[in-house]
Amino acid sequence: MSTPILAVREVVRTFGGLRAVDGASFDVEQGSITALIGPNGAGKSTLFNVVSGFLSAEGGSVQFEGRRIDRAPSHRIARRGLVRTFQVPRTLTRLSVLDNVLLAASGHPGERLSGLLLRPARARAYERKTRHRAHELLELVRLDKHAQDYAGVLSGGQRKLLDFARVLMTEPRLVLLDEPMAGVNPVLGRQLLEHVLQLRAEGGMTFLFVEHDLAVVMEASDRVIVMNEGRVIASGTPTDVRSDERVVDAYLGVVPPT
């Protein structure tokens, strides 16, 4: 078996006396779609924050593509190709919707004066390419009509969709999605899901997502990791996990219909 794209080992993170993440370990395989589920307060979002560098781990390690990232700041982790969305989206409200997406593209040759002066054609070509991609992504999340509007006028659900477009704009290798379906209309949610499956199939992108919609989890994921009280209590295929007694007790309450 190849090296996992993400290896989380015995990660600990506390808030005061609360052990939000209490020795969690798991792997995410390259090219997989892995779901992270668990009751509210299980530590899922905290774990996301640790993996993406928004919080430091107090113990344990995180490896991305074989390299330790648990001491790296979030922007450096993002540049290496690991990006995340937020449960509550971070939107730059005083910029246009389009500029929000364009800003996510990194490595623009025009960012450096030397690149701009010595290779202006290259900077222009890059600009054309990123604009084209940004428009494509806005179309995907149905925000193309709002491209020139201030992002501040978008509704809560639309900001979530904008966040999704921004993440894909960075051309990541591993994407962490924090409740991508919450607050998104089910018809559109399904289309986003199709797109995720397509990105995985065509570009080999890897996804790790927190989601409470179990129908989506069962349908989209190859593997499911179940957290409770800061630890991983089970992992396996959706079918394995659904019939696992510990999971039913901690999370599902009842066995969901097949």
């Binding site: 509550v88 006028v153 659900g157 409740e179 209309n185």
Partner: protein, 257 residues
């Protein structure tokens, strides 16, 4: 049947030049649960903001208990018996659970407030266990429960909720929806915006589908659930038995402009 407790007629509203609502009407009676669904950006949250006095409409009226309350400020509406749980920023993160509930009931006399807060602990045992914990350290789902309890402290006659189930685990969703059904049985009118559309329509006495700032469909929740047009445009296909290889996302769908 008596006249509706809440009557919203022909509302037009927006932000600056962007008109979001283009003539929306809605009614809710005591003990009725009303669900509003629709695509992102349809104007669902904006409608709640207008009805709760957070946004002044350009046209149309809001009547509550037979009186015109269009443009009345939220704190006045709260005293008259309306309350609102926003989608985000719905608790005070630096205050404890207990303090959040007390702030929620700040318009009540002290003794009544104490009783109302105690009632909330009884209805939401999870909050009783965590009464001293800072709201900012609660998980997303726990915070949502606190926000709902905070709004119920004033014993409203009409409760507005913007996506109460978003971000909740299946068990917590059940808990919240059970609570809302119980709230409704106590004679309170519940008006909620939801993206968990199937579940919320199944619970609703009346469902409204909003699209592009207009009423697209209105009817009993279960009737809307069975309407093939509504299902195709707004609910997505039933997820229970679908396979991941299918690409049957409704193809004929184009967002009306």
């Amino acid at each position: 049947m008596s006249a509706p407790l809440l009557e919203v007629a022909d509302i037009e509203a927006g932000y600056g030049e962007a008109l979001v609502l283009r003539g929306v009407s809605l009614a809710a009676s005591a003990g009725e649960l009303v669900t509003i669904i629709g695509p992102n950006g349809a104007g669902k949250s904006t409608l709640l903001r207008v009805v709760y006095g957070l946004l002044r409409p350009e046209a149309g009226s809001v009547r509550y208990a037979g009186e015109d309350v269009t443009g009345v400020r939220p704190e006045q509406l709260t005293r008259r018996g309306l309350n609102y749980v926003p989608q985000l920023a719905n608790v005070f993160p630096t205050l404890s659970v207990a303090e959040n509930l007390q702030v929620g009931g700040v318009s009540l006399p002290r003794a009544e407030r104490r009783q109302a807060v105690a009632d909330m602990y009884e209805q939401f045992p999870l909050l009783a266990e965590r009464r001293r914990q800072r709201a900012g350290t609660l998980s997303g789902g726990q915070r949502k429960l606190l926000a709902i309890a905070r709004a119920l402290v004033t014993r409203p006659k009409v409760l507005f909720l913007d996506e109460p189930s978003a971000g909740l685990s299946p068990q917590a969703v059940e808990l919240v929806f059970d609570q809302l059904a119980a709230v409704k049985r106590r004679g309170i009118a519940v008006v909620m915006v939801e993206q968990n559309a199937r579940r919320a329509l199944a619970l609703a006495d009346t469902g409204y589908v909003l699209d592009m700032g207009r009423n697209a469909y209105v009817g009993p929740g279960r009737t809307l659930l069975r309407d093939p047009k509504v299902a195709e445009l707004y609910l997505g296909r039933s997820t229970a038995a679908s396979s991941s290889t299918s690409t049957s996302a409704p193809s004929g769908m184009s967002e009306p402009t």
